[in-house]
Symmetry: C2
Subunit: 378 residues, 2 copies
């Protein structure tokens, strides 16, 4: 096995694949990175058995040669040292060679690394998805869907299903929903080319976070395929496979109140900054809880009071307050997460009383929904 590759190309692929490699794994060879060399290009593979990532570097693309002097073969390299070695090599090109004794030589300029490789035959075969049904969405849209929902997953293992994001594809609408049972985040987008439907796909939050890190913010499409225990995200040169969580995702639609008693229209950033300031004294003693009170349908007062530390109060002018006067307490952290997930300049918040969940949506009607359960203090 032998090839000469552009260092920058190799660095980018190695970084992506490293996202799936853990130094703590029950299968020792999975601490390594597999390199498959073919005449048409190089494939790097990493896996922690929950997530598997393959990155492909074509030998030539759009008339640009990325890989040369190719002799086909495969090897598994210790992933612990490989990224640093590649990053610090002196020249723009790198030669990687493996002999029949699994000795790997990495050369660049006058620098030469000799590493002990492992037999690629011993690397587990990645499960190949047996499905023809898939759909496509734009990469930047997929990244938004992840960022606007994944923060709301549970970090507690008491209900493992809540550590994932629920994906539904029904009536040509794709919905991402996450909840930790104290708050909920969801977003829906149309998928015009969808020929399939599914309801109970739950992808581990960790997988989606890693996927979000790897994907570039482009309009190129991602192809998504689902089986009953795996999901595959595929771009031009990337293959990202994650296991799904077992179990039934709770029915969340009944949580969402259908009517409201108080409706507030506010500037998203102003409200975010006011809540942020009110939370400064609420962190420890008060478990992040702040209070919101409407005042004569003119402005909101947001306050927090920690007897040991002090009190903070701020009035904020809002576009409109309709309906009943309201006093409500909630987690400032949940509120800030929700407001950060809304891209619109203006938000609409619908309350149904101090003890009922309330809903935050962008004012432009985009189907993003953030739901927060209040805290009982008034």
């Amino acid at each position: 096995m032998k090839f000469v590759i552009q260092r920058d190309q190799l660095i980018a692929s190695v970084q992506d694949v490293m996202k799936a490699i853990s130094s703590r794994t029950a299968i020792p060879i999975l601490t390594g990175m597999k390199i498959d060399v073919k005449q048409h290009g190089i494939t790097l593979t990493g896996s922690d058995s929950d997530i598997s990532i393959e990155s492909y570097i074509p030998a030539e693309e759009d008339g640009i040669v990325h890989v040369e002097n190719i002799e086909e073969g495969s090897i598994v390299l210790q992933a612990k040292y490989f990224p640093d070695i590649v990053r610090k090599l002196p020249e723009n090109t790198v030669e990687i060679e493996a002999d029949s004794n699994l000795k790997v030589t990495i050369r660049s300029g006058k620098a030469e690394f000799n590493l002990n490789g492992q037999d690629a035959e011993e690397y587990p075969h990645l499960p190949k998805l047996q499905t023809d049904s898939s759909f496509k969405i734009n990469t930047d849209l997929l990244k938004s869907l992840i960022k606007q929902t994944v923060f709301a997953i549970s970090t507690m293992e008491t209900r493992p299903i809540l550590t994932g994001v629920n994906l539904k594809l029904e009536n040509k609408n794709l919905t991402f929903t996450a909840t930790d049972s104290h708050r909920l985040a969801s977003r829906e987008i149309p998928v015009t080319d969808a020929t399939i439907e599914f309801q109970s796909v739950v992808v581990p939050g960790k997988s989606l976070n890693e996927l979000n890190k790897i994907l570039d913010d482009t309009e190129e499409s991602v192809e998504i395929s689902v089986t009953n225990n795996q999901i595959l995200f595929r771009t031009k040169h990337l293959y990202f496979l994650s296991r799904l969580l077992d179990g039934t995702y709770p029915e969340t639609s009944r949580l969402i109140p259908e009517q409201s008693k108080t409706v507030i229209h506010a500037n998203t950033k102003d409200l975010l900054h006011t809540v942020d300031r009110a939370s400064l004294l609420a962190k420890e003693e008060r478990n992040n809880v702040v209070k919101l009170a409407t005042n004569n349908n003119q402005f909101l007062e947001i306050t927090s009071n920690s007897p040991e530390i002090g009190r903070v109060a701020e009035e904020i002018a809002v576009q409109a307050i309709e309906g009943e006067e309201l006093k409500i307490s909630f987690s400032s952290k949940y509120m800030m997460d929700a407001l950060k997930a809304i891209e619109n300049d203006e938000v609409k918040i619908e309350f149904t009383g101090a003890m009922r969940p309330f809903i935050i949506r962008p004012a432009d009607g985009e189907p993003i929904l953030q739901l927060i359960l209040p805290v009982r203090t008034y």
Copy 2:
């Protein structure tokens, strides 16, 4: 006590003073920040009893008004919340007021914080330095002196005196020296206006690191005063006081070999990067040790070999090798620290055999000296 201040001015001073404040201190009031308000300006004070920092904001400076509506007085505020509050306030000006019950109000725009203050009378009086003898050096030069030596202090408490940097002022020359007994870093600069001399001033490395963070890279001068247990660094608006370490600093001059058997002239960055690459496989198993060998007075070979992981070798062309052939092993970390501390593009390295300390200096003759003890492996 009351004043209105420009927020950016306050943020900068608070950040400086926070460097001296620790949440773990035997004296509870030292977890707070003292604010002294006079008609001419505001003084913020923080201290962990080892380091004390005062930052002064004049009411007016160069025709620009920083502080207004001044009512004199003092208060101690809980430092844990104060920096975040100031940083996140909505407007460019901040009003701070304390009443006779030690209640502090911080106002900016519509935001109002009410905090419990503490009586400034209970804040310990900072020791005032009883000395008239001081000298001045440029701030950027002081920062260089610190950065080029402080990394070589010991982090072990077995010989506490080595956790500090030794300052000597003799014959109008100021020398900073640090050693952990495996390597040594020193630099000397002329101080033309020095009317004092001292030899055994040892400043804790931690103090110098904090001072380096606070000082801006300017050519303005720092006034330095020394007593037998304290050192004061004073700029226009800053007062940085540190205790000195007790004990006698070891005589280090005898460590420095007076003659050499092999002399190498090399490009600083090339050598640094080569040693960095060679160290990649040496980190765990080999305790960072790499080998250097001269080759026919033409180039150096730098290698590292970890049986479990692999081997790395690199030839590096150097400007000149004079004297005996040499094979020597040393800590790559020490070598990289030393090379980073040398600002010149070219270094001169003087060896006196594989078992003797060697010296790295900038090729331009600047009196910076880095000494490293080799490791016995050949």
